[in-house]
């Protein structure tokens, strides 16, 4: 076997791989698209009260409707735990096709929604509280949930104007029906 033939036989698959990859990528880009944005009803900071059953998590992927949605664009949810926060404070669960946030104890977390490919993501900060946490130094007269404030640690104080519990939102898992 001549050395040049060995070189050819070794280089040919690389050339085929290159043409295959760029050809297929070009074709994929012309017919399919990825999620370009994630739409949801959450603010930059949300609060969730500790409770036994979970909070449904909902978001919708936005993409060019003229194209078909590529694989790997199902939305998935993840939690990022700030340093010092226990991993037990909250967990993400799946019931059927729907994701939910199970809040176990007080703390702070970042909840991230992204597509499976992780080409796009969106995050909100979540404060997990229970009835024992009421803001210090408020006038004390207002104890309704809408105006409840929480002082979860020494350097964080936030006023909540509303609580999103069981808010009716679009489920996230069936949005690929467009395919």
């Amino acid at each position: 076997m001549k050395r040049v033939n060995i070189s050819v036989i070794l280089l040919v698959p690389m050339a085929i791989g290159l043409v295959l990859y760029f050809g297929a990528t070009g074709y994929r880009n012309s017919i399919a698209t990825d999620v370009t944005d994630i739409r949801w009803d959450y603010g930059s900071t949300e609060r969730f009260k500790v409770r036994g059953d979970g909070y449904p998590l909902a978001a919708t992927g936005v993409y060019d409707e003229n194209k078909i949605l590529d694989y790997g664009n199902d939305l998935v949810w993840n939690i990022t735990y700030p340093s010092g926060t226990s991993r037990d404070v909250a967990t993400i669960g799946i019931k059927g096709d729907a994701y939910y946030l199970k809040v176990n104890s007080i703390g702070e977390i970042d909840v991230t929604c992204s597509n499976e490919k992780n080409t796009i993501e969106r995050t909100f900060h979540a404060i997990l509280f229970d009835d024992s946490y009421v803001e210090e130094g408020t006038d004390g007269g207002d104890s309704t949930e809408e105006s409840q404030t929480s002082n979860l640690n020494n350097n964080f104080k936030v006023v909540y104007n509303h609580i999103k519990e069981d808010k009716s939102v679009e489920t996230s898992r069936n949005w690929r029906k467009a395919l």
């Binding site: 040049v4 033939n5 060995i6 280089l11 040919v12 791989g17 290159l18 790997g72």
Partner: protein
């Protein structure tokens, strides 16, 4: 005298340059070199970017590691060339009556190998250094170093080659008649090469797909390269001086010292052992020709044996035997497996639209592999040279002689191809339907190139040189590319699945039949008109 000797060695190349095959081979070599430079540059750039994001020192040590690997490949390449040149029986018989000193012969051969080592260095090492510098925006002087690096590296490699060529020749001599041991050694070697190629090809495709650091490299791989770096003298020392500007004097001195020492030692070793090894080589050749007992065998059997010897290599051609039986199935596996991963992974949406893309690509790889292996195993009439006269005088029907010439490599390549496909079937790379259809298409394509290649060669030897048998294989590769393109376009129409492969089989079968008909109709005429070169 050294100039004259070099003139003689390069004269062989000049003589070859008059043939059409040489120029086709030259163009193929150029394409291979440019392709190698592109692949190395691309992989260095991306690997360096990935690894350097992880740690700057990892990037540096990885460069050192891969430069050392390139050096080893260079040495292996040079070692084969040096052994063929230095201990060539014909060359020695021609030179022995002349009054040429031994040192002049050895030195001229070292210079000859040195020139080719520079080319190897420019193809393998320079692209790595350049891309490493590009990623860090090094000053222009660095690129002058990159251009000069192969000149110095070739000094080291030529020294190492001429040290190793002595034991290499001894081992080669001892193993010459031990076919089983040689086969085992070459088999293990080819498995190793294919395994390493498989890793490289996998990394290459992962880079194209944009994999991350953790997904790309096995845990501990980069760490082991990092730890190995400082031991890879003199590359580590030189690059520490050039790239990091640390320990400049010691680094440069170590490298230049090795550049001087290595060729000197190589020259001394080869000088002392040259005469003894060449004489031993001559004796074995003479003994082999005279003392060998001759078995009585029929004319057809002898012809088949001759073709088998040429294909399987009873002499120095064992490389092709190992390649045929060991490399092809493994290579098929290591190539088709990651390609399948690409198609069912990131490209799934494309395979939804073009459902048979996977099989079409597999078929293309099969076609091109078959063309290259068949080209290698076939010994055309034009390659017979002065033996063509003997072949034409054989008391056998001309069609039988040609048929044996076609069928021996056809059967061997076909057998290797079927084994390869069985490996692919059992590893789940091809489905059962695809397996049978690829086998059918592959064998028809093989018949087309086997008959076509020999017929084109016979037509060529009639004295009207219009083409060359190698160009036929190039055209057959182009045919497979066109067929692949047509198949992809047909996928958007109504012809899909098994019908598509059946269409391919019909088309290739028609071509194969046309070549077989040509063999039956014009084979005798072409055979009679073949001109014997004197």
């Amino acid at each position: 005298m050294i100039i004259e000797l070099l003139h003689k060695d390069f004269g062989l190349y000049r003589a070859l340059a008059k043939s059409r095959e040489f120029w086709i081979g030259f163009v193929v070599r150029m394409i291979v070199m440019l392709g190698t430079i592109s692949v190395i540059s691309y992989m260095t750039y991306w690997m360096d970017r990935l690894i350097s994001d992880h740690s700057e020192y990892f990037g540096f040590n990885t460069l050192v590691f891969f430069l050392a690997m390139a050096f080893l490949i260079q040495i292996f390449d040079g070692l084969i060339m040096a052994r063929d040149m230095t201990f060539d029986h014909v060359d020695h018989v021609t030179m022995s009556p002349l009054i040429i000193s031994r040192d002049a012969i050895v030195f001229s051969k070292m210079i000859f190998v040195y020139i080719f080592q520079i080319v190897d260095g420019l193809v393998l090492s320079t692209p790595m250094l350049v891309m490493y510098g590009v990623g860090r925006q090094f000053i222009p002087y660095y690129y002058i170093f990159c251009a000069l690096y192969p000149l110095f590296l070739a000094l080291i490699s030529v020294g190492v080659i001429f040290i190793l060529v002595v034991p290499f020749q001894l081992i080669h001599h001892v193993m010459k008649d031990r076919y089983l041991v040689r086969f085992l050694i070459m088999g293990v070697f080819m498995i190793g090469v294919t395994y390493l190629y498989g890793i490289g090809f996998d990394v290459y495709l992962k880079m194209l797909e944009g994999y991350g650091y953790e997904e790309m490299f096995a845990e501990g791989f980069i760490d082991s390269m990092f730890k190995l770096g400082p031991y890879l003298a003199p590359f580590y020392q030189l690059l520490t001086a050039i790239c990091r500007q640390q320990q400049i004097i010691s680094g440069v001195c170590t490298f230049l010292g090795t550049c001087l020492l290595s060729p000197m030692v190589g020259f001394i070793v080869s000088y002392f052992f040259y005469e003894g090894l060449v004489r031993r080589n001559d004796k074995s050749k003479v003994r082999k020709n005279i003392d060998k007992p001759r078995r009585k065998i029929s004319m057809k059997g002898a012809l088949i044996e001759k073709e088998l010897q040429q294909t399987l290599g009873k002499g120095d051609n064992l490389f092709s035997f190992a390649l045929l039986l060991v490399m092809m199935p493994l290579l098929m596996y290591v190539v088709l497996s990651p390609m399948k991963r690409v198609l069912i992974g990131n490209m799934r949406i494309v395979t939804d639209m073009v459902p048979d893309l996977e099989t079409i690509v597999q078929l293309l790889v099969v076609y091109i592999f078959l063309a290259i292996v068949q080209m290698q195993t076939t010994q055309p009439y034009s390659g017979e040279e002065e033996n063509l006269k003997t072949i034409k005088l054989l008391p056998l029907k001309d069609k039988s002689i040609t048929l044996i010439k076609i069928l021996v490599p056809f059967c061997l390549t076909g057998l290797s191809f079927i084994v390869s496909m069985i490996v692919c079937l059992f590893t789940g790379i091809v489905s059962l339907t695809s397996f049978f259809m690829i086998i059918l298409n592959g064998l028809l394509y093989l018949a087309f190139i086997a008959f076509g290649g020999v017929m084109v060669d016979m037509a060529d030897l009639r004295g009207k040189k219009h083409t060359s048998w190698i160009s036929f294989y190039v055209v057959s590769c182009l045919y497979s590319l066109i067929l692949t393109g047509t198949n992809i376009l047909m996928e958007f129409g109504v012809v899909k699945g098994i019908y598509l492969l059946a269409f391919d089989a019909c088309l290739t079968g028609a071509l194969a039949i046309s070549m077989i008909v040509l063999y039956f109709v014009r084979g005798s005429e072409y055979f009679a008109k073949m001109e014997v070169s004197v």
